[in-house]
Symmetry: none
Subunit: 216 residues, 4 copies
């Protein structure tokens, strides 16, 4: 039998509060969104981390961003092998069906997934090397990034640099999708790499001219 | 060379507004979150759809929900084959590392992914059947749900029922993960199935006693 | 100048939700409470711990319990020395002004204040012995309880027993207040000792006949 | 002998109801809270008054707020004299041990403690002036507030203004604690002053820019 429980009552109470205020005040917009479908201007690929709220940072409204969230905001390389690729499916839907104008990859400080990758690649987390570790296999996507940061002096520098590599590796992998490359080269889609510091509230973007991140 | 552009200026402007207001007012909380790590009480599995904002509906703050978003809020069955499974990695991290108390699967009305699944399974979208269609292969997860709704009279009824099946199939698949089943049976984790109507702002939960969804 | 910031926006949103639902539905009762004053049937002395919600456990409504919360739900002995005693003031107001019929002291498992007392009394927390430690001086109230549990075998047994001593010492100290003793002996006030296990949701009460706690 | 009675049966009954429903539905969350300890984001200092339920107003769940409640939501000035200061102990624990990001002082309308202070300071309650009056000595904390409101025209205006002074005097006194001032100045803690009208369900916050309270 199916295991499921009712919603905890404090969430029920908060939902009713939202319904009576935010929903009530925006009813016409929500109805329009339901009837006309979504037309988001951007896809955002962000981490599952509970501390990163991209809609808050950018004051985004319902309907504005098509948001995929996974561990460490990673995009795997294009691999049309007939198997299940949830991130690739989201990218395909955003670009081909929704025709978004931007894909924004948003990395962040204090990322537990990136820390796990660092531990694994530096030999300190053998459990993540096991075939049965979903987190380990997922973080394999970031191995090429580890090779670029492993010579840095301190563990803090390595982690910080690897968080930014998670953005860059994803941007590189996005370009291996033929429909992404076509849209970028046709001027219909632009890619953006961002990294935010949770504690400081700062935001950096990747500047291809400087080949480095710079403050927004 | 890496393709990336600076952030569009309207987003830069909004970010600076957020930094000067929301961040400034909540600086102490963001710093605490950065230093003490995240302790989210729940994992939410939601759709990428730009119209579904779970943090808004539940008045959730930074730090409260660990959020994975993919096409049609699907969880594949447990398959420890050493390949990349982003959703499985997110579930593993939430349950084993963060030890969340709840996993909430949130489905919604007007779901484009579910519509695609319906079209594909009923023979109206041969392009989704192709091996190279990432969306098609991802929506294969929901095929068992289609079999349960295909006898319904109208296309609308079928789509509505299939949106709810996306929640139920995911809840069923979650229980195929040994660490999820162990935590549920040990009383340390509870699963919840929800479905929201975007236009009406209504919220339904799956009630195992009635084997059906009911208004919250 | 006075340091104060506006309320974080997620709390503003939740407040507006409460106003539009819970308040709206109970407006007549809230207005009556404002006009007729409070007539609580019981005073509850509970811990500040964020995990203990006495109003939830007892389904209490606005107006039902006069609640004082401090570290480790302690009542100091009666000491009319003209200095500031916040807990004694709360007890005095409840008994003499509000004429409550019950005083319930509610202890709980996993109490950080009680753990601190145990560490201090067993010589493992010299910083709590310092004159300037407010927590240490406050936990001095529980020293007589430590003497009764220090011979127990394990640290776990000692902490559990000391959590219950926090209830018993407080009940003993309550009876040193002449107005409490008079009301109890006059049959106008009864005292109750409770202890709850946060994880198990169990509730125990002190049974004077058995001189021990028993399941409710 | 220890005076204590069993719990009144109507409370026993309500507890069993809570155990079979709310506890049962949230068991996983309560167990997690017991095992992982509390990580509240805010401390709330509120009145014992039975009509003020801060968890209801803010839809707060177990684990969210560390709550100290005393007569008239007062904080005394920092005074490390080695005597017992329950409120100071609670503040010390919240800031130094739990590292909360916010301290919210919540005042309210129709406050009996504030009324007593007004009566005492205006010479209408000599019994509160006595050395043995715990309520009188506790309300001495608010005397500096009385001096700022005593020129107001009506008794109602004075009481209303003094209720808000109870919030402001407490915020001022909080800043006399070196560890509070350090945390505030280091951007790790923010203070908030609120006042709620019980009958109207309104909520006001202190705005330092305007030096006055304003509607939320």
């Amino acid at each position: 039998m199916l295991h499921a429980k009712p919603l905890p009552s404090y969430l029920v109470q908060r939902y009713h509060g939202w319904k009576a205020t935010t929903y009530e005040e925006n009813q016409s917009w929500y109805r329009r969104l339901a009837e006309s479908g979504q037309h988001p201007r951007a896809m955002v690929i962000s981490c599952c981390d509970s501390r990163v709220h991209v809609t808050s940072i950018f004051g985004a409204d319902q309907g504005e961003f098509f948001i995929h969230r996974n561990i460490a905001n990673l995009v795997p390389p294009h691999k049309p092998d007939g198997l299940q690729h949830g991130t690739s499916a989201a990218v395909e839907y955003a670009v081909n069906a929704l025709k978004v104008a931007h894909i924004i990859v948003l990395g962040h400080s204090n990322c537990g997934g990136v820390q796990g990758c660092l531990d694994m690649c530096s030999g300190h987390a053998p459990e993540l090397e096991e075939k049965t570790s979903f987190v380990g296999r997922w973080m394999d996507i970031l191995r090429p990034g580890y090779d670029r940061v492993k010579e840095l002096d301190t563990a803090d520098e390595q982690r910080n640099a690897l968080e930014k590599q998670a953005v860059l590796v994803s941007l590189e992998n996005l370009m291996t999708f033929p429909f992404v490359a076509d849209a970028v080269e046709g001027g219909k889609l632009s890619l953006h790499g961002l990294w935010t510091d949770i504690g400081e509230g700062s935001l950096e973007y990747f500047d291809p001219a400087k080949k480095d991140f710079a403050r927004v």
